[in-house]
């Protein structure tokens, strides 16, 4: 039994004129505590797949099982989703933003609240609780968004290119922070990215997607030496370059 089981997912977007198949015949398993990346050119349906896993809309066919149960069968929050931009609510303080998920299930008081505020200092944002998002830098805001996602204690984290809107230095730092935070909480995570380096540095396994229609092209296992390193150090490891070249060639071959 796998932790997250994705079975025969097909998805087609319909409009008046067209029916565009975004995903065809996707099946894969993700084990508990794993960090998996979906890598591929734009238009390969990787974000669509992530949205389906998140339960934002149902697939045209196929099913997704989390711990052998269909998703959304129970209303507890098993999925955490991080977007390309932080989407912190500008009219809420950082503290209110981070507590948002708990507020929606009426658990933003007492112990849960204290735990969440602790989370805020875990991501290096201690003392910013009363500030508004506009008073924080891009990197800090994305860290607050991470804390907001983790606050509801999701079983699996879905990261939809969460570093793509940041400058390079901030991105590297945040990769390390996310990596270490998720490892310390023992979370399972799925990262969608088009950045080969980011995928190698952060994941245990990389699923390469091809476009038209989006389908699973190839799966790469990241060597153990890299898995144990933080993303920043992984980038300097000789194995990193080798895997980078392999995936690069594979991606090139997809374009023709």
């Amino acid at each position: 039994m796998s932790f997250l089981k994705i079975q025969d997912i097909h998805h087609t977007y319909f409009s008046n004129q067209t029916a565009a198949t975004a995903l065809a015949d996707i099946s894969l398993d993700i084990e508990k505590g794993e960090f998996v990346s979906f890598l591929g050119p734009s238009g390969c349906g990787k974000t669509t797949l992530l949205s389906i896993i998140a339960g934002l809309f149902p697939p045209t066919s196929g099913k997704i099982l989390l711990e052998d149960k269909p998703l959304n069968a129970d209303s507890d929050l098993s999925i955490g989703y991080m977007l390309q931009q932080d989407y912190l609510f500008p009219w809420k303080t950082i503290e209110e933003n981070v507590l948002l998920g708990l507020k929606l299930i009426n658990k933003d008081e007492g112990l849960e609240r204290i735990k969440t505020l602790k989370l805020l200092s875990d991501v290096g944002l201690g003392g910013t609780g009363k500030l508004y998002p506009r008073e924080l830098s891009g990197g800090m805001r994305q860290r607050a968004a991470l804390a907001r996602t983790l606050a509801v204690d999701p079983k699996i984290l879905l990261l939809d290119e969460p570093f793509s809107a940041l400058d390079y230095q901030t991105k590297l730092k945040l990769e390390d922070l996310v990596f270490e935070t998720l490892k310390s909480f023992g979370k399972t995570a799925v990262l969608v990215t088009h950045d080969i380096g980011e995928a190698i540095a952060m994941s245990d396994r990389i699923h390469l997607f091809s476009a038209n229609p989006g389908s699973l092209h190839k799966t790469f296992e990241v060597p153990d030496e890299l898995r144990e390193l933080t993303p920043f150090h992984a980038r300097n490891h000789p194995q990193y370059q080798i895997l980078f070249q392999t995936i690069w060639k594979e991606l090139e071959s997809l374009e023709y």
């Binding site: 929050l77 999925i79 977007l83 989407y87 609510f89 009219w91 998920g101 508004y132």
Partner: protein
Amino acid sequence: MNIEQLHNQYKTSLKKENRLIRFYQILIFIVFFSSWELFSRMKWIDPLIFSSPSKVWHLFIQKLGDGTLLSHSGVTLFETVLGFIIGTLLGTVLASLLWWSPRLSRTLDPYLVILNAMPKVALGPIIIVAFGPGFPSIISMGAIISIIITTIVVYTAFREVDPNYLKVLQTFGATRAQSFREAILPACFPTIISTLKVNVGLSWVGVIVGEFLVSAKGLGYLIIYGFQVFNFTLVMLALMIIAVFATIMYQLVELLERKLIKD
């Protein structure tokens, strides 16, 4: 170095500019009223029609003394504020309903367009027959004139809220009501406030027209009465008072805006 000096220089120039603006504003005020007075006295304009500031002022003191002005203004102010609140509130509620049910919104779309295009004051006679000649009709006029435009503007704002905020809420399992409360409504506060500003003016139009049609009390009544007995000083007085009250209401809305919107 002399950074501080430069900063002070900058502040002084800023203050100077502000004082200059204020000076011109006061100048316009003085020039307007003194030339009005002068032209009227010199009979360059017909004093019977255009009255003069001093006559308006005397009438103001006199009407204030016998208490009639206070009761007339009170009535109109009450009707306007109520019409304004009802119009804005109902408009926002209607917009929320449309947001809630996209099917309802698509169904009602052509009717909203028609209602919006229609001059609401033309409904006056029907409203008066329906609600009787009194407060309810006049308040309805004040409300009805702003309700549809509020609905349309606020609903458009609801729909333009960045869908990613909703996505965040949806991944947290939020219901539609929760999404509305946490994202849609607060995101649209700036728009709602700006419709409030428009509605201040609109409600005055509705109420004054309503009073033209039926009332035996209020500033609209004073205008019509003054017009019928050819007492234009009274008309001018009523106009001045409306201008003052409308400005105060507008300022209050701006105060509310500063309180509610922190960005």
